[in-house]
Each structure stands twice: as structure tokens, then as C-alpha cells.
């Protein structure tokens, strides 16, 4: 993952190969990053695979918008995150509308109900709790945690990808970790797989 944002100012247009072949190389280079970032944002494998592939398709369709001096990945990341966040918003609306009781009152749902602990390698109770707690963070906090911990990006790379300053990255990480700590402290240990009571 070194210098993800520095790699290649890929210019499919100026490549000697056909645009399809050049784009295939780009997809193969970034597919793991795209999949794992999407997985961190939406929490389950099927959606992550679907959304990351859709993001590459949209990138191919809108490639003209990328100026020749711009780096591919930060631009692509905007497409991917927008897709993931729209997907999460739609999911939330669908869930809210399906969780109305017989009197029409809305029952609040956990944010993390699709954050499948099966996605965590070498599982134990603590790791499961942490993964579900990440699923309860708001989108902006969740994404910095994913980029820093699961893709191991430097602050400089995160700031390039998010089009913000290093200071903003630091501050977002501070509040994201603080919130994560609060969620974990509030819940306390409980058997893996048990649903939590309330939302925070």
C-alpha cells in the first residue's frame, strides 16, 4: 500500500494499449484496495464486491472527467465512497420503513446489523465486538478508521484521498477513536453474536 496516491498518473488515453486493456490493468492493481475499503464501509462481502465493481464501471464511464495530471486513486475513491454511502443511506431508509410497529411507530434499528463478524479473520469475542462497534460509527469516522487501520494508509495519503488537510485527518481520527472507545465501554463484554440493546 506504499504511496497509493503517488502511483502512476495512469493515462488510459495515452496508453499504447487499448483503453479496455489499460483499464483492466488499473482494476487489477486496485481491486483489493477497493474491495476492502468497501467492505469496511458497508460491512458485508456481497455488497462490498458489488459496490467496488460498480465503482470501477463508473470510473471507466467517467474517465474523461479525470484530468491528465490527477492521480487515479483519490478520484476513484470519491466514486467508491459516494456509492457506499448512498447504499448505506438507502439501506437505512429501507430498514426504517420495514421496522414500523403495528401502530406506525418507528422502531430504531442498530446501524451495524449488516456488519457481519464473519468478515473478521481469527475471530474472538473482542474482535467481533470491535467490528460491530466500527459499524456503529458515523460514516466519516468509520472511513478514517478503515483507511488507517485496515489499509494502513499514512496521514498524507488519507488527506489526499479525502481531499482535506492533515489536521482534519488527525482530528477525525481523534474523534473516531474516542467514539469507538465510548461504544465499547458502554456495551461492555457480552457473548459474541448477541444483539445489543440500544443505539448511542
Amino acid at each position: 500500500m506504499d504511496g497509493l496516491c503517488e502511483q502512476e498518473t495512469i493515462s488510459i488515453r495515452s496508453s499504447g494499449r487499448s483503453s479496455k486493456d489499460a483499464f483492466e490493468a488499473v482494476v487489477k492493481r486496485h481491486m483489493k484496495d477497493a474491495y476492502f475499503i468497501a467492505l469496511g464501509l458497508v460491512g458485508n462481502r456481497e455488497d462490498a464486491l458489488e459496490l467496488s465493481q460498480e465503482a470501477f464501471f463508473r470510473a471507466f464511464r467517467n474517465f474523461k472527467q479525470l484530468s491528465s495530471k490527477a492521480k487515479f486513486f483519490p478520484w476513484f475513491y470519491q466514486i467508491l465512497r459516494n456509492l457506499c454511502f448512498s447504499h448505506l443511506r438507502r439501506r437505512k431508509v429501507r430498514r426504517a420503513s420495514s421496522l414500523e410497529d403495528s401502530e406506525g411507530n418507528t422502531i430504531e434499528a442498530d446501524n451495524d446489523d449488516r456488519f457481519d463478524p464473519e468478515m473478521v479473520a481469527e475471530r474472538n469475542e473482542t474482535k467481533d465486538r470491535l467490528w460491530r462497534a466500527i459499524g456503529q460509527l458515523d460514516y466519516k469516522h468509520r472511513e478514517v478508521i478503515i483507511l488507517r487501520h485496515f489499509r494502513n494508509l499514512s496521514y498524507d495519503d488519507i488527506s489526499k484521498i479525502l481531499f482535506c488537510s492533515r489536521g482534519t485527518v488527525t482530528s477525525r481520527l481523534y474523534y473516531a477513536r474516542k467514539r469507538l472507545k465510548e461504544i465499547l465501554d458502554h456495551e461492555g463484554p457480552h457473548p459474541a453474536g448477541t444483539r445489543k440493546g440500544g443505539r448511542h
Partner: protein, 148 residues
Amino acid sequence: MTCQDYKDLMMAYLDHELDDQQKRAFEEHLASCAACAKEMEEFKKLKQLTDDVTLVEPEDRIWQQYWGGVYNRIERGFGWILFSLAAILLIIYGGFKFIEELIKDQTVGMLLKVGLLALIAGLAILFVSVLRERVYFWRRDRYKDVRR
């Protein structure tokens, strides 16, 4: 510097993103501030926990078929564009032919001819109007040239 200023350095210290001078200054502050030292310890524990979590790597089959999934979308996208263009062309051609035949056909009553022509003209006006509106708003879209 206040504790709040040092809090800004806390994350960078935790993630080894400080230069030597900043690191020394921060460690000196930690040695003299119990509240910041306590908060730092808690963050260290959390980071250890988070660093411990890794995500399951999907089976190789997923990576082998990944490009195929993207390519299918690209191919179908082109397919839909071609299909839509061809459908529009055929509808326009068919429409002209139909009008031509209708006008030439002596057995069709004048009222029916006028009615059908008015229907087609109405559809054409609606289509042009909607198209013009879309172009008008697209030209005035302040964000259409925004490049990331």
C-alpha cells in the same frame, strides 16, 4: 502549548507520524500531565485492539473473476447505448414511413388522418420541449465542470 494543542498531536504520536522534535515535546508533556497520559494509555489499548483485527481474504476465485464482473458491466453499458440509439432511429424511420403511407392511403378517412397526425405532432412537441428543458438546466448547472 495547552493540553488541547497536545491532543492534536496525540493521534499522530500514536500512529508514528510525528518527527523527532515533536515526539520529544509530546513525551515531555505526557510526563508532566496525568490526564493526557491517561487518555494516551486508553488510546494505545484501543489501537492494539484495532491493529489485531484483520479482515478475511476472499478466495482466489473472487479475484480471478473480478475483472470479468467489471467488464460485463462495461459491455452491457455499451450494449444499452447501442440498443437505445437503434431503437430511436427505427422508431423515427417507422414513424415517417407510417405517416407517408397514411397520407397516400385513399381509403383512410380524413378525420382519422388528422387525428393521428395531431397525436404524432403532440408527441414530437412534448419530446422537443423536455429535451430543451434538460439542455437548458444542464447548461446552467454550476457543478457540471467540477473536476475532482
